[in-house]
């Protein structure tokens, strides 16, 4: 893929340095490369206003911009068609207002998830999410990549927890939508539009979330068995009166586990565990979940390379079929595999093998998952695999509308060009 960055005259950068302060503008190194594309400069503005001004400057100068904060998921999406400037939110890291009695928080986009949770825990509260790599991942990053985690089974995903957003657009506009009340239907819900938009519409600079109390008690149990039996048990749990705060199926060649997590009062958890035993019947006895069960969505990223990690979304009744599909596909292409899927139907799968095999395996998986009415999106893979396909899969009939939305927000394709669905 051509990476034809037009190098800007060096004289232009001092203008940007003037906007954000010269100590906040650095030359990029190869460590800043994003899927094979190395930017020229890294800008770290200290305020939302400076960020908006910097973005406008870059847009007017015809530069291509990639927003970044923690950088943990920078490679997600298609490789950028171009990237001249990384616009970092790293210095926008403050928790601006924790209104604990109202159970809301206003936080800047560059705040790391774990740092936010620590602040909230001082009042016994949490942002009810457990995304990937919380020590390093930031609020803007998890929003842009729509990364929620296993807790969504009970509390919903980011789109259900965000109640307000402030964004910077390529023309320098700073705009907000929503507010700091939980219930609000005034105007369009731009927070949802920007959640999962991979920084292609604007740069998120601030978000407001509704919060939940930290659990009083927590207990987690795991069942082992064949994927088919565990899928049945998962459906039985979904169809029961139980209210788990985590419910996931983990599988790898030759073994599978179902993890069930309960939060609440001691009496409530005990009663639910008892019911869980009844639902499972005598044949399957659970044990306490192994350490790491609830971070398996994270450990799936660890292992031998080359490898491909993809997010798939299917209906809960298809989980066993997905396990079987991974098994069959991996066998055909002599690669190893692992997967974990939350009961809402969102999961991660990992395939290990050489580059052509990964590519063929992915296309096989994609075809069969599409037949089930689901989707599979490549998050991480050798560059050669990503370059030969659209990581998002084939666009749907709303693609022309999607393109129009992009054109309205970012008419000149300044932000993350080429990275989103259909190469927009």
């Amino acid at each position: 893929m051509p990476v034809g960055n037009e190098v800007k005259p060096k004289t232009a950068w001092p203008e940007l340095a003037e906007i954000i302060g010269k100590e906040n503008l650095h030359a990029a190194t190869t460590a800043d490369a994003c899927e094979g594309v190395t930017p020229q400069m890294i800008a770290e503005p200290g305020t939302a206003e400076d960020l908006a001004r910097a973005l406008r400057w870059a847009h007017d100068a015809g530069l291509k911009v990639t927003p970044r904060a923690g950088g943990t998921k920078l490679g997600w999406g298609n490789p950028p068609a171009a990237c001249d400037l990384v616009l970092s939110t790293a210095r926008l890291h403050r928790v601006l207002e924790h209104a604990w009695a109202d159970m809301t928080v206003i936080v800047e986009a560059g705040c790391r998830v774990a740092a936010l949770q620590k602040t909230l825990a001082e009042h016994g509260q949490q942002l009810a999410l457990d995304p990937l790599w919380p020590e390093r991942a930031t609020i803007g990053g998890i929003l842009s990549t729509n990364d929620s985690g296993p807790l969504r089974v009970r509390y919903g995903s980011l789109r259900d927890l965000i109640i307000g957003i402030t964004v910077a657009l390529p023309d320098g506009t700073l705009a907000k939508s929503g507010g700091k009340v939980v219930k609000n239907v005034a105007g369009y819900d731009l927070a949802k539009l920007f959640t999962g938009a991979l920084g292609t519409l604007g740069v998120i600079v601030q978000a407001i979330f509704r919060l939940h109390p930290l659990p009083r008690e927590r207990r987690s149990l795991s069942f082992s068995g064949a994927p088919q039996a565990l899928n049945q048990l998962l459906l039985s749990i979904l169809g029961s009166k139980l209210v788990p705060t985590g419910l996931q199926l983990r599988a790898e060649p030759g073994q599978a586990q179902l993890d069930v997590r309960f939060d609440g009062t001691t009496a409530g958890i005990e009663a639910q565990v008892k019911q869980l035993h009844q639902i499972a019947g005598g044949s399957a006895l659970p044990t306490d979940s192994p350490a790491g069960a609830w971070t398996s969505h994270q450990s799936i990223w660890d292992g031998p390379t080359p490898a491909l990690v993809a997010k798939f979304c299917v209906l809960p009744s298809h989980f066993a079929a997905i396990c079987e599909l991974f098994e069959r596909t991996a066998r055909a292409h002599s690669s190893a595999w692992r997967m974990v899927v939350q009961s809402v139907g969102a999961g991660y799968g990992r395939l290990e093998g050489n580059e052509p095999a990964l590519r063929t395996a992915l296309l096989a998986l994609r075809g069969e998952i599409a037949n089930m009415g689901g989707s599979i999106v490549v998050l991480s893979s050798p560059l050669a695999v990503k370059r030969g396909l659209d990581v998002w899969g084939p666009p749907c009939d709303a693609q022309p509308l999607t393109v129009r939305v992009k054109q309205r927000f970012d008419p000149d394709g300044t932000l993350n060009p080429g990275r989103f669905v259909g190469g927009i």
């Binding site: 109202d102 009340v181 239907v185 105007g187 949802k192 209906l315 709303a398």
Partner: protein, 482 residues
């Protein structure tokens, strides 16, 4: 309307699907907010997505504005017709198309009544969570347009939480699918943008809903306090104790009187009544209900009842759900408002409402979704007294300004519609509104779908968006933009 176009419409929806007689059209001249009335040129009642699409294509070709309408129960004038346009009623598209219990999905046409979804899946122990008080008559399509809430959205979320995908006819007549049966459909969350867009982005012709399993136990506690401030303190206490009830509702004395007069709910005659519903595993609900009762007692509750059976619970809820209509028993006319405030601002906002009410001599009854700070002040007036309607409108507006000032919103669940669009400019800045308008222009560049609603001054889609530059008179404080 041009006979040629009428004939074309008739060919699409059939003679029984086209209304043009003035006396029949008058049924459609307003929605639940009856103070705004506009007679449409025609009303069309399509029975399929294909018919909706064909009708919209004609509208697009002829530049005829259209307003989609469900059951017409909306309270912000969102389904108010436009004088030179048509109304597309989705009432005849009322089939439940698919029920998938293992995956907890139901696919419906937009004209299906909210409560009919629950009725269909209740025998298997499931329910559809959003429960606006009008749920017996309001439609899913209308709920999608308004992002309807209800008493239980404190715990279960709003319509947007429970809509996974849609089939939509866009204002240019194209048919697209947003979202899907599965979660996290790749691409922009256009479902999330469409829900709550008040009919300004197109017409949903099919909706994929998520249903939920009914909780093991549901209990409602009713507590009587001397004042709404005491009741408000109890709400804060419950939240601070780390509980997330399914619903927390509050009524003041005037609202209680109205409910008693209308449905004899047997509420105690008190200054502030709190209803707290907890649901979940039985032992958990019992433990937490004791804690709720403790908090209420500490905050001054002098009577506490716990309704445990379905029948008792239904009786307790009857008064609350009937409250809006019940106010008709104690006042000839009233305006329902829908402001939202951060919960902690409640005592201040309540005392301000009392002050404003006494200043203008009109009574205000208050019904709140107290858990999430959604106020429903009912401004009572006599429409037979000249000028009192204007006074009531002003008071209702002042209450909304109080909500904005407290960091809240002008609408929690009724929508902006026709009624509150002028307040949008007080809640949001020009760049905020301009950015929302970008979405509008992507979906409906010709401003045909429910035009002139929600936004105070629709920006033409040809206008170049850009950083808002205030007029020198604004900078000087001489003029203000509305």
């Amino acid at each position: 309307m041009d006979a040629r176009i009428l004939n074309e419409f008739r060919a699409i929806v059939g003679a029984t699907g086209l209304i043009t007689e003035p006396e029949q059209l008058s049924t459609y001249e307003c929605d639940g907010l009856t103070m705004f009335r506009v007679m449409p040129l025609a009303v069309l009642l399509p029975t399929s997505a294909e018919q909706v699409q064909a009708v919209v294509r004609v509208c697009h070709r002829e530049k005829i504005p259209f307003v989609a309408r469900g059951s017409g129960t909306g309270l912000s004038g969102g389904a108010l017709p436009v004088a030179n346009g048509i109304v597309i009623s989705l009432a005849r598209m009322n089939r439940i198309l698919e029920v998938d219990l293992p995956n907890q999905r139901v696919v419906v046409e937009p004209g299906v009544m909210n409560l009919n979804v629950t009725a269909r899946v209740a025998p298997d122990g499931y329910f559809y969570a959003p429960d606006p008080s009008s749920q017996q008559v309001c439609s899913i399509g209308g709920n999608v347009a308004e992002n309807s809430g209800g008493a239980h959205c404190l715990k279960y979320g709003f319509t947007t939480t429970h809509v996974l995908g849609m089939e939509v006819v866009l204002p240019d007549g194209s048919l697209v699918h947003l979202g899907d049966r599965t979660v996290d459909h790749p691409g922009y969350d256009l479902t999330g943008v469409f829900v709550g867009s008040e009919g300004t982005l197109g017409i949903a012709t099919k909706v994929i809903l998520r249903i939920m399993k009914k909780p093991e136990v549901i209990q409602v506690l009713l507590a009587a306090f001397n004042s709404t401030n005491e009741a408000g303190a109890a709400v804060s206490g419950i939240i601070a104790a780390g509980m997330l009830p399914a619903a927390i509702e509050m009524m003041d004395n005037l609202a209680i009187q109205a409910a008693e007069a209308a449905v004899h709910a047997n509420y105690p005659d008190c200054g502030g009544l709190l209803l707290v519903e907890l649901d979940g595993p039985a032992p958990e609900v019992e433990t937490l209900m004791d804690e709720v009762a403790d908090v209420c007692t500490k905050c001054g509750a002098w009577e506490i009842r716990v309704a445990q059976s379905d029948a008792e619970r239904a009786r307790v809820w009857t008064g609350r759900k009937a409250a809006f209509a019940a106010v008709g028993r104690i006042s000839p006319a009233y305006i329902v408002q829908d402001g939202v405030i951060p919960r902690t601002a409640l005592p201040h906002v309540m005392s301000e409402i009392v002050r404003l009410s006494s200043e203008c001599g009109l009574r205000v009854a208050n019904v709140f979704h107290a858990g999430d700070g959604n106020l429903h002040p009912l401004v009572l007036y006599d429409d037979a007294v000249p000028g009192q309607d204007k006074l009531a409108e002003k008071l209702a507006g002042d209450i909304l300004r109080l909500c904005i000032k407290a960091g809240g919103s002008i609408t929690g669940e009724h929508g902006v519609g026709e009624e509150k669009k002028m307040f949008m400019a007080e809640m949001y800045t020009e760049p905020d509104l301009g950015t929302m308008q970008l979405v509008r222009c992507a979906f409906d560049p010709e401003n045909l779908s429910n035009p002139d609603k929600v936004f105070p001054r629709p920006r033409l889609c040809g206008e170049k968006p850009g950083v808002y530059e205030p007029h020198p008179l604004e900078v000087a404080g001489v003029a203000q933009r509305f």
